[in-house]
């Protein structure tokens, strides 16, 4: 990557509403970040200082993430920006892709969905709660595996608005 390329990248980055960008291509690594290094560094640092490592770090990594609202324990990348809608679980429970075993899943990645369409079921105390999409869009990714548990506020779907 030459300096011209880099310049274009920086311009692109500046115009976007992405806050951090990391590229690792054929041994070349570029990392860009916007705004407020100080505070974010401080808080990152503090986070370490007052967070004694815990015995369950491996099993419940979601509690270690900076973002308080999201229990991001999956490795899938969650794109950010106004264009994307993250559907979070409104309750603690069990995530189901389909209405019953053997049925077709409500949605698949790539599907275009309508506002109000059922995305999945979160079961809590034997109650099947249908979770509907609040927007029209395309399913970018499904973050939870079938029959796995979800916490309150845990991201389940990424939808690109269309």
């Amino acid at each position: 990557m030459d300096i011209k390329e880099l310049k274009r990248l920086v311009e692109l980055f500046e115009k976007s509403n992405i806050s951090e960008l990391e590229i690792d291509e054929k041994g070349t690594k570029v990392r860009l970040r916007k705004g407020g290094v100080g505070p974010s560094e401080v808080s990152a640092h503090r986070h370490i200082t007052h967070t004694p490592p815990t015995p369950h770090q491996a099993t419940v990594t979601q509690t270690k993430i900076e973002e308080v609202t999201a229990g991001i324990k999956h490795k899938k990348v969650i794109p950010q920006g106004d264009n994307y809608v993250i559907v979070e679980s409104p309750m603690v429970g069990t995530f189901y892709k389909a209405s019953s075993e053997g049925s077709d899943p409500y949605v698949k990645e790539g599907d275009v969905i309508e506002k109000g369409q059922v995305l999945c079921i979160v079961e809590a105390m034997k109650l099947m709660n249908e979770i509907e999409s609040e927007v029209r869009g395309r399913i970018v990714s499904i973050l939870i595996e079938n029959a796995h548990s979800v916490e309150f506020g845990e991201p389940m779907f990424v939808i690109e608005k269309i």
Binding site: H50, T51, H56, T59, V68, V92, G93, A124, E151, F152
Partner: protein, 446 residues
């Protein structure tokens, strides 16, 4: 014994239960709101589940979320701590339905003792003394005079619709009754638009004395002596101690037996507390029962050497009490100061980030807390941030230890009640052990 316990609470009591579980070899599940993600109970539990937003009603008080968290983690029991759902009979009931053991008494126990009128009637039937009084409504001054004759002066007249000290009048002799009755009645009409009043014996200079009891599911019941919780402000306890400076061994035995009789009569199971008012003549009256572990349980642990949380868990697991009444011994003296994130003069909550922290240590000092340096005390929950507990040879030694521990306790960034405790601990009436439930009111009016 249980395999995995979910703790349906937060803060120091959640950590306290986790500690007991670890020592018993039981796995733990912490639940938390989104605001509590950096809390110590979350960090020290084996697993943690976020169950809702900061508001308690949608997280720590939300039964479906708690049960769901227990189900997805495979917990076989729920410990409710104190506050929140600890005295909610529905949670105990739903646990039964779902095959999860509720670590506490039966729903029936909770329901009965949670209703003040029913609880008093049950105790009266069991032969436990209650504060003598009228039925819920006294119709006339004449009727009042007849009742007063029976229960003896002084008496207190209260507007049925009143509260918070308003619409109350103390009557010390018969001659004043009729006039005062009419005054209270018109006051009640004017202030509350309800002329109804009732009366009770007025307990002068009462002490709040409570007995810790333990009852297993096989009907074995013992008491672990008393706690003196007379240092309270608007019914919020601030300092507790055991034993009480006001009790003789004879009175302790008598009141303890009475407390055991009380819980026996309702077939109570689990740990619990019978609260009494004690007057200057050594007469005591049942006021209420707490059907849960209490904030101030450590003072009893310090003087008896018994771990109440472990016993509570063992009882819930169906184990028989290992200790008999005659084996309960009281060693030395213990005091607890509740350190609240509050202005020490006005008791207004003071949430915020703790910028510096020094927690006292050394011999005879125990601190139960979930705070740490850089922790943020949240505005959503209780202001109790630490319990400072000391154990000494005798009361004087315990007070000396508490003084030096309070001096070592530094919390910066927020206001705490530490300075308030220092003031109480050097007050001559406290030092003499001569204090009553009005201690703090008197302190503040002087």
């Amino acid at each position: 014994m249980f395999n995995k316990i979910l703790i349906a609470n937060r803060g120091e009591i959640a950590l306290r239960v986790i500690r007991a579980c670890k020592e018993l070899g039981i796995k733990t599940v912490a639940i938390h709101s989104t605001a509590d993600v950096n809390s110590l109970h979350v960090k020290f539990a084996d697993e943690a589940v976020c169950i809702g937003p900061p508001e308690s009603s949608k997280s720590y008080l939300h039964i479906p979320s708690i049960i769901s968290a227990a189900e997805i983690t495979g917990a076989d029991a729920i410990h409710p701590g104190y506050g929140f759902l600890s005295e909610n009979p529905s949670l105990a009931e739903i646990c039964q339905t779902c095959g999860i053991k509720f670590i506490g008494p039966t729903p029936e126990n909770i329901r009965l003792m949670g209703n003040k009128v029913k609880a008093k009637n049950a105790m009266k039937e069991a032969g436990v003394p209650i504060v003598p009084g009228s039925p819920e409504r006294v119709e006339s001054a004449v009727e009042a005079a007849v009742i007063a004759e029976k229960i003896g002066y002084p008496i207190i007249l209260k507007a049925s619709a009143g509260g918070g000290g308003r619409g109350m009048r103390i009557i010390r002799k018969k001659d004043d009754l009729i006039d005062t009755f009419n005054v209270v009645q018109s006051e009640a009409s004017a202030a509350f638009a309800d002329p109804h009043i009732y009366m009770e014996k007025y307990i002068e200079r009462p002490r709040h004395i409570e007995f810790q009891i333990m009852a297993d599911e096989k009907g074995n019941i013992i008491h672990l002596g008393e706690r003196d919780c007379s240092i309270q402000r608007r019914h919020q306890k601030l300092i507790e101690e055991s034993p009480s400076p006001a009790l003789t061994n004879k009175l302790r035995k008598e009141m303890g037996e009475c407390a055991v009789k009380a819980v026996k009569s309702i077939h109570y199971q689990s740990v619990g507390t019978i609260e009494f008012l004690l007057d200057g003549d050594g007469k005591y009256y049942f006021i209420e029962m707490n059907t849960r572990i209490q904030v101030e349980h450590p003072v009893t642990e310090m003087v008896t050497g018994i771990d109440l949380i472990k016993e509570q868990i063992r009882i819930a697991a169906g184990e028989k009490l290992k200790i008999k009444q005659k084996e309960v011994n009281i060693f030395g003296h213990s005091i607890e100061c509740r350190i609240n994130a509050e202005d020490p003069d006005k008791f207004i909550p003071s949430p915020g980030k703790i910028t510096a922290l020094n927690i006292p240590g050394g011999p005879g000092v125990r601190v139960d807390t979930a705070i740490y340096s850089e922790y943020t005390v949240l505005p959503y929950y209780d202001s109790l941030i630490a319990k400072l507990i000391v154990h000494g040879h005798d009361r004087e030694d315990a007070i000396a230890k508490m003084n030096r521990a309070l001096e070592e306790f530094h919390v910066e960034g927020i206001k705490t009640t530490i300075t308030f405790h220092k003031k109480v601990l050097s007050h001559k009436d406290f030092l003499k052990g001569e204090f009553y439930t009005d201690f703090i009111d008197r302190l503040n009016t002087k």
